[in-house]
Amino acid sequence: MSAAAAMPESGAPDGADRLAVRKTYKLYIGGAFPRSESGRSYVVRDPAGGFLANAALASRKDARDAVVAARKAFAGWSGATAYNRGQVLYRVAELLEGRRAQFAEEVRLTSGAPLREALEEVDAAVDRWVWYAGWADKIAQVRGGANPVAGPYFNFSLPEPAGVVAVLAPQDGPGSALLGLVSVLAPAIVGGSTAVVVASERHPLPAVTLSEVLATSDVPGGVVNVLTGRVAEIAPWLASHMDVNAIDLAGALGAPGALADDLAVAAAENLKRVLRLPAADWAADPGVERMFGYLETKTVWHPMGT
């Protein structure tokens, strides 16, 4: 069992003779692990109310920093070959598999599920990541094509990534902590977009650990940025941010009030692509709607002639 797992609140020495080294859960922005610039943190608890960890409570400034980092990473990530993106993402799955026990423990602690179920969720999450990794160099063929225009042009349409996308990870529910997170993050980045993820407020630990996996993978810094904190506080800044191109409202669906509506209205200011898919059974076949939702279609008229 990795030392990264959260500790009980008692803080008693873990074992007979040594004091455990506890993990500090931080944000992941631009490939680095800063604390919130606000200096704030919040207590993450298990379902029984026991202390699990302190997590960073991200602020508006953190969200903006994350968008800047994601924009900076966009040219490189979207410009990489599809084959390369596929390789890089598959490598992430390899690393996830290597941390299977750590993820399972975090899922178990945060969701209260038995270890066997937690392991199943981790396995499904790894498999899901592999599934998306394999999509990287298929998207253009499935989504693009030649158009038989009446004229001397080679006309073709290709999918292109939307740009910087804000992903509100699912907040709660079976399988949401890791499988749900992977199911909303992977489709955002596989096509070449870069992401700012707002992790589940109550279950952020697998998200932070995932960001550690990403940091040690070949995914360039800034391609994925992970914020922990209150979705109701951070999401409005992302929804109204003029340099964000798309937003997935998964994590706002069950929120009190009309948060999802408010975010969708704010998103209209720069006509973000808004993904508002019905609440998902994360274990089910994910389909392609989420992945395709982050794609633009570019049509090029190329001249033909001698």
Partner: protein
């Protein structure tokens, strides 16, 4: 040397205008409670009175569309729907001359364009989509994609019949019924299209046309009885509609404004590029969302290109839109002319240099001469805002990377052009431009099989091609993709 042209007016006699037109609801023309006049922008003569649809009329139209959807259209096999669309396409071709003259009268665009572009493309759109109606299961959206229901469609005044075709053809092919609102200043070809629907024997209620102003459009877009909104028009109104649909959860596609860069490299054939620049910005008086309104020309050839451009602009013939030799017609409305005039003045005030083609403007009607601004900086309003008129802003660049930077420096992302002899440079630039349509060594080409639509604030969704079908199909979720 200057060529003299004898007048060559297209005859108006092919069009029989009525004094007043009703709303087209449930297969019949019905009276509205009030009416407004539509004029010819070239002469300011009143062409006809047209009914103004209020909320209760929109209600009736939506109810008719819903009935037709549930009782007839959604139950009809695809091949039968397709045959109706083929019929409509044929009738558009048969009545092409009439449609072209009417379009030119009501819109002010040159007959050469309505005859050679608008009407043939409208027919082509119906032909193309007719064939899809019984093949939707092969379109890549699952084995049996379902229609959405009733579509509310709001279209602009720049290509009245063509935009109608872009909206109605895919909607009907996919099994939806429609309520369409044409633009306030250009309702007549839509009403003639309503006659064509009658002539084709289209079941009542499948197509409904409600004329009116912005309030009619608002009532339609917000109507709880429609499942899908499709809008082409300004980005400002598009954002408002996006807010409305954000709450109602209706499916939405938006095709909005643009500020396209037309990038000319130093190896481009100058004469060909100049034709493309002229076509890019003066086609349809620049009333084109994808108009090439920002010319980015490589510094080393800027002088040569601009000289050739001005020479060419001086030969453009502005005047009677019905004259077959006319290149540049009338501005569509007084309001649009005021907007163009105001933005052009801002160009003067901000320090750009204006040059207009030396063409006399008619005394009556709304006119603006083909105009080019040089010395434009990226901060100028005429480089940032959509003018939607015959006004070109010229900027220069030195390296391809600088061209990319400047071309993408806009909240819009609808279209772009590139002029070079080098195929690899075309594809290099095309892959870096954040725009939905990229024309290489051409501009303002359209085809029903070619998806059209924008990135960023130019809207979302595509119209035309296989991709455009998705906007009118339930592909298994509630996404806006």
């Amino acid at each position: 040397m200057r060529f003299e042209y004898a007048p060559a007016p297209e005859s108006r006699s092919v069009v029989s205008l009525r004094d007043c037109y009703g709303l087209f609801i449930n297969g019949e023309f019905v009276d509205g409670n009030s009416a407004f006049k539509t004029i010819s922008p070239a002469t300011e003569e009143v062409l006809a009175e047209v009914a103004h649809a209020g909320p209760e009329d929109v209600d009736r139209a939506v109810a008719a569309a819903r009935r037709a959807y549930e009782r007839v259209w959604s139950a009809l096999p695809g091949r039968e729907r397709g045959k109706y669309l083929f019929r409509i396409a044929r009738i558009i071709q048969e009545r092409a001359r009439e449609l072209a003259v009417l379009e030119t009268l009501d819109n002010g665009k040159p007959i050469r364009e309505s005859r050679d572009v608008d009407v043939p493309l409208a027919a082509a759109h119906f032909f193309y989509h007719a064939g899809w109606a019984d093949k939707l299961g092969y379109a890549g959206f699952g084995p049996s994609p379902r229609p959405l229901g009733v579509a509310g469609q709001v279209i602009p005044w720049n290509f009245p019949l063509l935009m109608l075709a872009w909206k109605i053809a895919p909607a009907l092919a996919c099994g939806n019924t429609v309520v369409l609102k044409p633009a306030e200043t250009t309702p007549l070809t839509a009403l003639l299209f309503a006659e064509i629907c009658q002539q084709a024997g289209l079941p009542p209620g499948v197509v409904n046309i409600v004329t009116g102003d912005g309030s009619t459009g608002q009532a339609l877009v917000a109507h709880p009885g429609i499942d899908k909104v499709a809008f082409t028009g300004s980005t400002e109104v598009g954002k408002e509609i996006a807010r409305v649909c954000a709450v109602s959860g209706k499916r939405l596609t938006l095709e909005l404004g643009g500020k396209a860069a037309n990038v000319v490299f130093d190896d481009a054939p100058v004469d060909q590029a100049v034709e493309g620049i002229v076509n890019g910005i003066f086609f349809n008086q620049g009333h084109v969302c994808c108009a090439g309104s920002r010319l980015l020309v490589q510094e080393s050839v800027a002088g040569e290109v601009l000289d050739a451009l001005k020479r060419r602009m001086a030969t453009l013939r502005l005047g009677d839109p019905l004259d077959k030799n006319t290149d540049v017609g009338a501005i569509n409305s007084r309001a649009q002319l005021d907007k163009i005039t105001e933005l052009a003045s801002s160009g003067d005030a901000e320090g750009a240099q204006r040059w207009s083609a030396p063409c006399p403007l008619p005394d009556r009607g709304f006119w603006f001469p083909p105009t080019v601004f040089t010395g434009v900086s990226q901060a100028h309003r005429i480089a940032r805002e959509e003018i939607f008129g015959p006004v070109l802003s010229v900027l220069t660049f030195r390296t391809p990377a600088e061209a990319v930077e400047k071309a993408n420096n806009t909240p819009y992302g609808l279209s772009a052009g590139v002029w070079t002899e080098k195929g690899s440079l075309i594809l290099w630039l095309a892959s870096r431009l954040r725009a939905g349509v990229v024309w290489a060594n051409t501009f303002n080409r359209f085809d029903p099989s070619s998806p059209f639509g924008g990135y960023k604030e130019s809207g979302f969704g595509r119209e035309g091609g296989r991709h455009g079908l998705e906007a009118y199909l339930d592909v298994g979720g509630g996404g806006d993709a």
